[in-house]
Symmetry: C2
């Protein structure tokens, strides 16, 4: 199979709420994409069917056919066994041991490669944005939840049970706020979008004044990350303080990563960070350097990714390309 | 140089207070050892001279000569550049950029290899005690301070500035007790020997009753880890509680490591752990599994090393052997 007859690869970002598929050329330029809701509650076979349809939509959008696609790389939100392409467990999808690679290949007739979503986002940032330069990279993605991907010695690192990078449940504050996982003081419980929204809603109940209630009503039901940015820009001191505190926690988590793993670059992404980069990044960087042990953080870069929502599909495309080189 | 004419290797453990040197045969059996105080305050050249003398004492103790020694591996308490054998910085020795390998080779006429002390202890445990089996191993050493060494993908991992494994300054409790590094809530500030002794001394001042004051007098000046064990065995509830709390913090730190790195084995060592293994290990294991994210800790072993004080010299011997194979 000559490479130039099949120059295109596909990246898929399979999340708990939405599926994103993108078609990429050899230079990793995205030619077109498609989006769909996940409908996880319908069960694994239905979700896999939706992924296949989303992929076909993206191919069709680019006026291509599956015959021109070399391979597909997919990021799944959970523990993945890349060799078999099985999703071992994915709490957000309520999946346990799903043979995703096999099922998708049957439907699409394209070679499929599967990885954990944060690993694949980190791979995308590493390869496309950083040109594969850093030998050790940690990607931290802050959205509804918090996860990380690791590139060590120039290669993705997954660990014994393939769950390395579960930084969202690193405990930063023994006895701190309760986390969805059942423990207390996890990174995710103090700095995810969920944690921030909870803090703001609790603050409003306690009588704190915020412009957000003018924007959205007293129950703040449809609160989004972008609303926090708007409120801060209009001078909302309460929201500013909550966001700054979250940025400090993120900085401490970054310091912990620097102390333990000493990566060359820490890259930050995810929906919350993307929306509030101007408000958070400088505080994160300062706090991280303040809390890293002296001498360990010399020359280490802490940056925000420019890939935004495309990190997942880009990483999928990178994986597909790497596996079929 | 035929291997069988020089079958012996030397391991050296260079600490802030003492130097330990051991001669090992091909089966990694220790044939003899020597010990000396470090006298760090005399400066690097004097300390290097003391290391060389300690090594010669160990060789002499075994009725050997330096001509029969193939190589020497040394663990230093700080950041090390293994290629050049330079100690980049070592706070406990007050060293900055010391060409240790070059200086020792000049004095001993044996090839010298230098690594960070926690890395070398982990290497010793991995090779001799665990027969090199785990693909991913984290060694955590709890004594006056706390440090870790990482074996990832079957190889020692050091990171960008060669300081990976600085787990003692991982923040577990934002705003917690002050640490020697200037930050608050570091692992070392809540679970090292120093932290435990400080807590006990503060408790005594606050009027807590403990058998330790009967043993050592009211100021507890000469307190040692073994005294804590003795007090607990005699029913000292205050000391028992302090030690149990420290074990819980260690368990949380182990959970953080499992979440982030997902190693196959976590091995615990160091003076405090060695002295209080019966009192601490079960609590550490239980807390670690309670706090690791569900699904991440399956099949992961958390064990105590059997090498005790010999972990450093054994690791040095392993390094010397690996480098001259």
């Amino acid at each position: 199979m000559a490479e130039n007859t099949k120059p295109y690869v596909i990246g898929v970002d399979l999340g708990g709420t939405k599926i994103l598929a993108g078609v990429f050329d050899e230079k990793l330029t995205c030619l077109g994409r498609a989006k769909s809701s996940t409908k996880a509650q319908r069960g694994a076979p239905a979700v896999i069917e939706r992924v296949a349809r989303c992929v076909q939509d993206a191919i069709d959008e680019c006026d291509l056919t599956t015959k021109q696609i070399r391979a597909l790389g997919l990021g799944a939100p959970g523990a993945v066994e890349p060799e078999s392409g099985r999703v071992l467990f994915a709490p957000n999808l309520v999946w346990e041991d799903v043979p995703l690679k096999k099922e998708l290949e049957k439907r699409l007739d394209i070679p499929v490669f599967v990885e954990n979503d944060c690993n694949i986002q980190t791979l995308g940032v590493w390869d496309k944005e950083l040109r594969g330069k850093p030998r050790h990279l940690v990607g931290i993605f802050i959205g509804t939840g918090i996860g990380a991907g690791l590139i060590l010695e120039g290669k993705p690192f997954a660990g014994f049970n393939r769950t390395a990078g579960e930084i969202g449940h690193m405990i930063l504050e023994v006895g701190g706020p309760k986390c969805g996982c059942g423990n207390r003081g996890c990174f995710e419980a103090v700095a995810s979008r969920t944690a921030l929204f909870r803090k703001i809603q609790a603050g409003v109940k306690d009588g704190h004044k915020t412009l957000l209630t003018d924007l959205l009503g007293g129950d703040l039901k449809d609160l989004r990350s972008g609303d926090l940015r708007k409120a801060i820009k209009r001078g909302d001191k309460f929201v500013e303080k909550v966001v700054e505190e979250a940025a400090e926690y993120i900085g401490i988590a970054v310091a912990n990563v620097i102390n333990l793993l000493n990566p060359e670059v820490v890259v930050l992404g995810g929906g919350l960070l993307d929306a509030l980069e101007d408000e958070m990044l400088a505080i994160i960087i300062e706090t991280a350097h303040d809390n890293a042990m002296q001498g360990t953080d010399k020359g280490i870069e802490i940056i925000a990714s420019r890939l935004g929502d495309d990190a997942g599909i880009t990483g999928g495309a990178v994986l597909a390309r790497r596996e079929t080189k």
